[in-house]
Subunit: 161 residues, 2 copies
């Protein structure tokens, strides 16, 4: 992770894309969201979704996986250039999560993130807060998920105690 001071509002990150296979959809849903339209093709066909589709929590969790991978690549690139790597702190949470369209079998979702706000933390000296808007878009260009999240990021210069 770059330091808080090096992150600008308006920056966009392409987190990559994932194709949701029937196997992956059923594996997640069997464990965490075993509703018929997430685990059984025939039942899904009869449901309001019309076909097997991913649990919304699955679509969201894949975003997390891609974000972690993105940050790992960024950390590796910083280290390769001999630059220091900032710590990413805990996330206080999320807001406005919207599941806008179902994610069906073999849909490919492209995840992207945009920085919409940065501010120094009052409660944690040495840390800043970054607010990001996260989106997933399918291969037809339709948004399927959108949410806003907040994370603590280490500051480059610690304020005087």
């Amino acid at each position: 992770m770059r330091f808080f001071e090096d992150i600008a509002v308006g920056e966009k990150f392409d987190l990559g894309r994932v194709t949701f296979t029937a196997e992956a959809i059923k594996a997640f849903a069997t464990r965490f969201d075993p509703q018929p339209f997430h685990i059984d093709e025939a039942a899904a066909k009869r449901s309001h979704f019309g076909a097997l589709c991913a649990s919304g929590w699955h679509t969201a969790s894949v975003w997390m996986r891609l974000l972690v991978a993105y940050q790992r690549r960024e950390d590796d690139a910083l280290r390769a250039r001999g630059e220091p790597v900032a710590a990413l702190g805990p996330s206080p949470g999320f807001r406005e999560l919207k599941w806008l369209k179902p994610v069906y079998v073999d849909d490919t979702i492209t995840y992207a993130t945009e920085v919409i706000e940065t501010r120094a933390s009052n409660s944690r000296p040495g840390w800043g807060l970054m607010t990001i808007r996260n989106t997933g878009t399918n291969q037809r260009g339709e948004p399927v998920i959108s949410f806003v999240s907040v994370a603590f990021i280490e500051r480059r210069k610690k304020p005087a105690p």
Copy 2:
């Protein structure tokens, strides 16, 4: 699921409780949130969390599993009494998700839900919208997760077309 008309604001549901084992924490995080403090005890000890703890998406996904199980029990009870079962429609999303405390190994989280708003759907005749506040509380009585979600529920009497 009971029908929309049978659900009242203020109703509370106890969804049950789950103990987060190290094995389950690592299994989820390896797949979806492979940050050191979710997959490696030694690295977690050195992190700001101080010990291995669950991915926030894991804590949220377990809520979904308990909700589905609760609804299944309710459907079974309705059928056993010979009563009709209402369909649960898609969820448009949730808001104000807060991870309030880390969920550490062997913490037992009790999940509960309270109906905070009901209204007929304008966009989908025959359906109502239920807004619920969901919480997870650990064995020390500390809230660890809180969010508000919305779901479509079938109405008992379809309005005239």
